[in-house]
Each structure stands twice: as C-alpha cells, then as structure tokens.
C-alpha cells in the first residue's frame, strides 16, 4: 500500500480497483474462498482478459465474451418477468442458470428485475412493470413524465440534492407525496426555530409516508438478502460480476428522469442556458454516484446507459453543445478517480465517433450497438476498448451458423490487436438460446489471439 488513496494517480487508482476486483472478499471481509483451484484460476483469468482489453497495453489471450442480457435469463428459465420480480429466489435461480450455462467472462448480477413489492409499496410512477401497466410476461418499461416542471430549473441548479429529496422523490413515489411538506434542512441552524422544522413529522400524512418508507426499506432488505449473495457465489465458481456501479449522462438524467424527452427538447430552444447550467450542476453528483459505488464495491467499471444522444436524436451541433460536454466531464471525473466508464451507446453512434474520441487512452469501454465497427475501430481503436455489436435481430431470428459468421467477421475487424470485448449490441429479452450459445462459441474460437 504505502500511499493514501488521495495521493494515487488516476493510473494507480485504476490499477488498485482492478486489483480489488481480482481479490474478492466474502461478506466478513476475508479473502473469498473459491470452490476449486480451477474456479479461482478462471476468475482471475477472466478479469485479466477484460483488464488487458480495456487498458490497451497488452493484448489479452483472447477476445473476452460477455453477453449482457436484459431479461433473457427469465425467458431462458421458462419463468415470467412477474415471477422474478416478486419471488426473489426464483430471480436468483434464473440468473444462476444463465451464468452456469453460458459461462460468460463477466456477468451483470441479478439485480436487474428489482423487487416488485417494493415498487408497489411506494407506488413508483416512472416505470410500468409486470402487473402494473405491462403484462406478466413483459419487462418493465419507462413512463416518461414531467417530474420537474419547466419553471423549476433554478431550484434544481441552486440545490440539486435538495431538489431530488424534497421535490422529485415525493412526485415519483406516490406513497411519499406527503414529503412535499418537509422542510429544507438549512432551517436547523440554531436552537431558536429548530422545532418548527419538525412539525411536519407530527402530521398524519407525513407519518403515513414514513411508515411506507420503513415498509419499503424492509422489502428492499428482504430482496437484498435473497439476491445479495449472487455475485459472491458466482465469484466462488469463477465468474466475475462486471459492474462497480452506474451513473448517467447529465442530459439523460434530465431527459429521462426529470423533464422527459419532449420537455428537454423544448428546453433546448426555450431555455438553453438554464438547461446547460442544470447539467453542470448535476455533473459532480453524477461523478460522485459512480465513484462512490466503485469504491464501495471494489470494481472499476461504471455502467452508463446512454439514450438521447444517439444518431437521429440530435444534430451534430446539438450533440456537441448539449450532450457531450457534461457527459465527457462525468467520464473524466470517473477516470480521474480510477474508474472505467462503460457508456452503452444504444442505437447508432456513427456520427459521434470523432467527437467521443477525445478521451485518454485505455480508460473507457464503449458499448456499441448499430455503430459501424470497422470505422469505430479506426477512429477509437487507439484510445478506447469497445464492446458489443452482435445485433439483436440476428440473435432473435437468425440461425447459429449466421451468428457464427457474423461473430467471426466482427472479432477479426473490431478485435484486431486487442481492445474488444464480444457482446450483444443492445440489451435483450427473448432471443434464441442456441444463437447465444453460437455467439459464445464463435467468440472463444475466432477470438483467440495467436
């Protein structure tokens, strides 16, 4: 050790986080006991393979293969989305079957479905989920709305955290609506007047909301108890979990969660300066969210699902003005803290490649979907590792032979010399299992560097 965390360079921090990922602990803080020496060897080989691909210093032994499903494990196990959201043990079993059958070089854990009861208790508004707006078979989907009004930018800019706790939270959870009555905390400065701040806590609606909050806490804990051991057990079997945490591009935080697509796009014309200021105000919070999780979980990769900056959504000029500057700041904040941002660019990013090239070498893992990988390799190949691109239509209705041919070509182009991780281009539900198997096999076969 020697140096304090704060004294380490970004390179040293990244290395230290990879080392923590390579040396997993059990819940008691002791070295994790692997189920066999082979499992330990596989665990370390898998992470080393991913690390080498990302850092671009050394070619890995082969292209890592990491299928990243949405709700595929549910379909693959013959369950419904509703079942895994309400029966947490079933969720665990579905994801375990997926990992053991497909043997990915890394997986994303089984927290994806989340606890259905918890969402019910709080009356969560931002998503429809099985039995609540979508059928039991379907996966949860976002219900965008204006959870922040057009005239509330100043409130967000002046106090982003206060906005989330006092305004957003009571709006997005129906059961917590009475929290709109709660005071902002700077009111607790002095003995005089401090008690005024606590009056709302004595009112029946707020007390009802506090009860709902405790009930939701219990449910979240129950869920965590059921699925929380998943990553540990998979690690003992040799399978690392890839995610250290997640954060978002400030444009998407506002566009997905606070204002909705329509809201943010009107704001680009009606109040562009406020929008830019708000994204600046959110940037440090987005960095903290990712870095905090990475340090807690001891893993460098921070997932960033990108939505509204894809080809077709914004012009190049709009992307450069509204989307990229604060996304880059968040990514640089993560990188300086030793994290590896994993931005998932769903859709196409063909018109963005020259812009997003502006990042330090060996610090980022770009997930691409319908982006031209030959061009991406040419433009980004010497700065960033890339992941993805196996198309969902092919995995859904193609044949194993077609998948293999696609993968062969893909690893030969994007994987040339390293810097590539084979995966699906976007997150998938019910694709054909034999096609996913074909992707895995072809990746291992054609992805070997000789």
């Amino acid at each position: 050790m020697g140096k304090e965390w704060g004294e380490l360079s970004p390179d040293e921090k990244q290395e230290a986080l990879f080392q923590r990922w390579l040396s997993p602990k059990d819940p008691g803080g002791n070295d994790l006991k692997f189920q066999s020496p082979e499992a330990e060897k596989s665990y370390k080989e898998r992470i080393t393979r991913i690390k080498d691909a990302i850092q671009l210093k050394k070619r890995p032994d082969r292209v890592p293969v990491c299928p990243l499903p949405s709700m595929f494990p549910v379909f693959y196990s013959g369950m419904t989305n509703q079942e895994v959201m309400y029966d947490y043990d079933k969720c665990y079993q579905a994801w375990k079957k997926f990992v053991l059958d497909f043997e990915p070089d890394a997986h994303m854990g089984c927290a994806g479905p989340g606890p259905g009861r918890f969402f019910e208790i709080l009356d969560y508004k931002l998503y429809a989920w099985p039995g609540h707006g979508v059928s039991p078979q379907h996966s949860y989907q976002c219900l965008e709305g204006e959870y922040m009004k057009a005239d509330e930018y100043d409130a967000l800019i002046q106090d982003p955290s206060g906005f989330f706790s006092n305004v957003y939270l009571p709006r997005v959870f129906g059961a917590l609506q009475p929290f709109q009555m709660l005071p902002l905390l700077p009111g607790i400065l002095e003995m005089y007047g401090v008690a005024f701040n606590f009056i709302p806590y004595g009112l029946p609606p707020v007390q009802g909301a506090l009860n709902a909050l405790m009930e939701a806490g219990n449910e979240a804990l129950k869920w965590a108890g059921a699925v929380g051991g998943f990553d540990g057990e998979m690690a003992t079997l040799g399978f690392p979990q890839i995610l250290g945490g997640f954060t978002k591009a400030p444009f998407d935080t506002i566009g997905d969660t606070l204002r909705g697509t329509k809201g943010i796009m009107l704001d680009m014309y009606r109040q562009p300066d406020k929008l830019l200021q708000a994204m600046d105000a959110l940037t440090p919070l987005m960095i903290k969210m990712g870095v905090g999780a990475a340090l807690m979980n001891g893993k460098p990769l921070i997932f960033m699902p990108l939505h509204k900056g894809a080809d077709g959504f914004l012009s190049d000029e709009q992307f450069k003005t509204f989307y990229w500057p604060t996304l880059r700041k968040v990514m640089m904040g993560l990188i300086e803290a030793g994290c590896v941002p994993l931005p998932a660019a769903e859709g196409g990013y063909n018109s963005r490649l020259e812009v997003i090239k502006d990042l330090p070498k060996g610090k980022t893992l770009w997930m691409f979907d319908q982006t031209d990988m030959a061009r991406a390799k040419k433009i980004l190949g010497d700065t960033s590792c890339m992941l993805g691109n196996v198309p969902l239509d092919l995995l859904s209705v193609g044949t194993p032979q077609q998948v293999k041919e696609y993968v062969k070509k893909l690893v030969q182009t994007a994987g040339k010399g390293g810097g590539f991780i084979l995966a699906n281009g976007a997150f998938f539900d019910n694709v054909k299992a034999e096609n996913l198997k074909a992707m895995m096999e072809a990746g291992r076969e054609y992805g070997a560097y000789r």
Binding site: L143, T261, D393
Partner: protein, 210 residues
C-alpha cells in the same frame, strides 16, 4: 404576413411565430389561411428532417407550435380545414411495448406528407389493429416496436390481420430500433423502414402517390 409566419415556424422562432399568428387572428385573416401557412411550415420542417438538418427537438417544437396556433385559430373556424390526403394509415406500437418516440416521428412525417393517420397509441393488441382496419379502411398499416419482445407481437398482429380476412386489403410496414429485413421476414410484414423517411416512401408507393 403569412410568409413571415411560415418562416418563423420553419426556422424554430417560436415566440415570433406565436406573435405573428396572434396578429393575424386579431387582424381578421382567414383562419384557414393561417392554418395553411402552419401546414406549409410543417412541410418545410419535414423536408429539413429528411435532409438531416433537423432532428427530434425540431419535430417536437414544430408540433407544439402547430398545436398552439391551431388552438388560437379554432374559435374563428366555421368548418374544419379540409386538406387533400393521399391515403390512410393506421399505426401503433404493438402489444406489450410502450415506446412511442419512434412511432411519433413516423406519424409526424406521414402527416406532413399528406396522409390521414389513425394513431392507436402504444401497447396495442392485435384485435385493435384488426378493428381499426375494418372501421378506418386504411391502405397502409404501420407496426412499431422497440423491444425484442415486439418481434413476436408484430408476427401475431400480422397473423390476426390475416385471420380476419383483411391481409390483402392492406400493406403492412414495420419499424423500430432493432428491426431489420430478417425481422420483416419473420413477422410476415410487407416491408420495414429503417427510419421515418423510408416509412413515408413506402406508404407513398403503396397508395400510388408521387
């Protein structure tokens, strides 16, 4: 005045556009002419979207401007504006999928290109498409979907249309983030559009518009 209104809308100057429209309404201009100007501007916006100079923010703002102007004009309007239409399209996001951004772009582009559209919204069950085909009698049906789960829902919808004896009465196009020729074959649709512009040309071709 009307030329100025067209330019203000087409150039995304919302405040100017609303002021000009208000002046025209108050000055006693023909309400149909004001709406005509707004429609002309929508055509320009659609064209700029096709060319790749306009994107989603402009389509959204243009739609909002059109609605505001329509509201302003409505009280003065004796009868609804009749616009010549090429043909009719029924469109919706298929069952189980509630994504609407892509569908809404296609609706906007079909509208500015002179189609009469029945938008069934999101999470639309096959029966509802069948019913709409019988009642609205479109020449074209558009199925939208973003999730991989939508592939099966599209297939089911095409089959339901077939079963109801309506398959030879309509042409079916599909579209969405992950849709391809392979998916088109799988669903039994007639064509797929990789973007809204392809959707418009397919619809035009099928109804015999230029």
């Amino acid at each position: 005045m009307s030329k100025k209104l067209v330019d203000a809308i087409a150039d995304m100057r919302e405040a100017d556009a609303l002021r000009l429209a208000k002046e025209m309404v108050e000055g006693g201009s023909d309400p149909l002419a004001i709406l005509g100007a707004a429609r002309e501007a929508m055509g320009i916006v659609g064209h700029r979207y096709e060319e790749g100079t306009y994107f989603l923010p402009e389509l959204i703002l243009a739609g909002v401007m059109l609605n505001q102007i329509a509201e302003m004009v409505k009280p003065k309007l004796a009868k609804a504006a009749e616009v010549e239409r090429h043909g009719k399209v029924v469109i919706g996001t298929v069952q189980g999928d509630i994504h609407d951004i892509g569908k809404d772009i296609v609706v906007f582009m079909l509208d500015v290109n002179g189609f009469d559209i029945l938008d069934l919204g999101v999470d639309v069950p096959p029966e509802k498409f069948v019913e709409a085909i019988k009642d609205f009698k479109p020449q074209v049906v558009g199925l939208s979907g973003f999730l991989t789960l939508a592939f099966d829902a599209m297939k089911d919808t095409v089959e339901a249309i077939k079963k109801a004896g309506q398959r030879d009465k309509v042409k079916i196009m599909i579209g969405g983030g992950q849709i391809s020729e392979e998916i088109r074959k799988y669903t039994g649709a007639d064509a797929y559009g990789k973007d809204a512009m392809v959707g418009v040309s397919l619809a035009k071709e099928w109804v015999g518009a230029k």
